[in-house]
Symmetry: C2
Subunit: 380 residues, 2 copies
């Protein structure tokens, strides 16, 4: 079976782009990824485009904008894991021997398409009773505080850390550091979560060029990063019935990825995880086995998750700091992993990074119908 | 490389289902496909769900309904080729060695989600000037009449044929035969097309269970049908600049499928093609090389495309007769191919069928930005 490598990445600035659309942003990211890879664009044989709200044939509109119409392209959607799903499907097309060079694109013009309620469907029974994303994560935060003694200040420190990381990322939505006090005094959303505990409504796109072993040998690209695993699972109440403070779906997806990559969580040097809310980062790193259950808040307080710490989490700024354009997010995580692993992350470079992990979690927060979880492992 | 086989198929009745939704319809089709395959549902390792308008994580909602949450699933979208794309991606996951048994589902509750303008995006410039699907196909019909001397009656005969086929399909949206006169007297939509020249707004779902060679050997399923090719390409004005009456994208996709399957158009015994309008069937069968350019209308008149004719086209009733639930369509074509190739098509059985072809064409009709075309070849 062929191994899959990432040879080029690109992304737009994340933020508000009132004068752009999802196809235009996707085209910018794709062109940058192609230039970064050094490959002749005519060598690209197929493409995948992840997005949630952008309407039909969005990926085709991107290809048409950059003069690449004609390629096989599939649009993919898995809620907030849509971009990560594009990476996964691109890697399967290469492993199948269908293509040797595939582009994975993730894009979202969320500011024009977000209706204010991120729920699987207007008919969703949980959303109808008010169990929207912020409400569910707020309950999980409260429960976690009860079970593990996390303080409100510790929770706020997740946002403070990620905004600090974002401040050194020129493409991040937020470039200004914030303090614990500012988090605690920011506008309440769903107690205990305030607005600075929540990822913003962001426009943006990212892209990556993936190749087979065979093609990498032909190209001789010395900056390639190996996609050692790309795991996807879905979830529901059946798969996650027991706890508000632990994510069996994240654990299961991570275990499959570790097995495929031939590593354990102890080998991971840094990670981009789906911090759609401050509490979400806590649940994810513990679900991934990167920190013991109940231990992450204190670890953040000790600086272990900082760039320069023992195990940097969300060096890009994460969803809280860099922003969260749904379809763009999963691909942007891979962009960050590649830049870190190549030593091209500038001010926010993690020293000696060899193994990076990216985690996305889309759909329902506690798993009643419709979650999708992805874990990707990249190795230099 | 492993070969991919279809071991089970299922579909709902196509029509109006005011008391159902897309997930519910998808679940019914999936359960039928599983039962038809005879496989233990726990052997299914992954799934793909094609739809256009059903909102996020639709496929996950289907899995949750049937107690199969947890599987890897990706939702895919390629306009009217969405269901066919689910088949293609399922086959790639098998060829990649990622899974041995994969479910492909296509679903659409179009009656509740159709806004009346099937255009890639509200900002689409062609739609803004009135170049909607019926308008563009009407222009193509007029041009074809000019170039090849097709009569209005010949065009109507395509609808008459497909409605006749649908009359013997218990799952079709329309079960009543119509006459040329009824087509000509039906409500005008875009001259020369009347409402009976247009596929209806239909709810429905279909599903197929695909397996690897290895798994087929283990199962010893004697009713399996081989997926000999599953091709996908996108198009734009760059790829189809020259003609209103010929489809280079359909030709290119077909040629790739013929090459993969090791056959030529002369080996195809029958076909399901994307007859979203009467004129569309004409353009597709000629684009596929099944009939010479300009020759199809007379061939229909001679009965060559009838069940029992030389080369039956749309024995299921096609989009015009069976109905067109966007995401459901491409998978439903595969359901028809499998049933015909197994000799299980009842009243509408084609004698001696060995090779069937399915063609979908989604997105823009003349190829400005955003078309997606698929061709699948199934062999018994």
């Amino acid at each position: 079976m062929t191994t899959v490598h990432v040879i080029g990445v690109g992304m737009t600035r994340f933020g508000k782009h009132p004068d752009r659309d999802a196809a235009d942003l996707g085209a910018e990211a794709l062109l940058e990824a192609i230039a970064d890879s050094g490959i002749d664009p005519r060598a690209i044989e197929g493409a995948y485009c992840g997005h949630v709200f952008q309407g039909m044939v969005t990926g085709q509109r991107i290809l048409a904008q950059v003069g690449m119409a004609g390629l096989p392209l599939s649009n993919v959607e898995n809620a907030c894991s849509s971009g990560a799903t594009a990476i996964r499907e691109a890697s399967l097309a290469i492993r199948a021997g269908e293509h040797d060079v595939v582009a994975a694109i993730g894009t979202e013009h969320l500011t024009t398409r977000f209706t204010g309620a991120l729920t699987p469907d207007p008919s969703d029974p949980e959303a109808a009773v008010g169990a929207t994303m912020p409400a569910v994560y707020a309950m999980r935060a409260r429960r976690y505080m009860e079970e593990f003694g996390m303080t409100r200040e510790q929770l706020a420190l997740v946002a403070v850390k990620n905004r600090r990381h974002a401040a050194s990322n020129p493409l991040a939505h937020f470039r200004k550091e914030i303090t614990v006090e500012e988090v605690l005094e920011s506008r309440p959303i769903a107690d205990p979560l305030n607005v600075f505990d929540c990822s913003p409504v962001t426009d943006g796109a990212a892209a990556a060029i993936l190749v087979s072993d065979r093609m990498l040998k032909r190209l001789g690209n010395g900056r390639a990063v190996r996609l050692a695993a790309s795991s996807l699972f879905t979830g529901s109440v059946d798969t996650e019935p027991t706890s508000m403070t632990f994510e069996p779906l994240t654990r299961k997806t991570a275990e499959a990825a570790y097995e495929r990559a031939g590593i354990g969580p102890e080998d991971v040097g840094f990670a981009e995880v789906h911090d759609c809310f401050t509490i979400a980062e806590v649940l994810r790193v513990e679900g991934l086995g990167l920190f013991g259950q109940g231990e992450y808040p204190a670890a953040v307080e000790r600086g272990e998750a900082d760039i320069g710490g023992r195990l940097p989490i969300n060096p890009s700024g994460g969803l809280l700091g860099k922003g969260h354009p749904l379809g763009g997010t999963g691909v942007a995580q891979v962009v960050e992993l590649v830049r870190q692993l190549r030593g091209e992350a500038g001010e926010r470079q993690i020293e000696g990074a060899r193994v990076g992990l990216a985690h996305c979690r889309g759909g329902k927060a506690v798993g009643i119908e419709g979650a999708a979880c992805t874990v990707q492992v990249l190795v230099r």
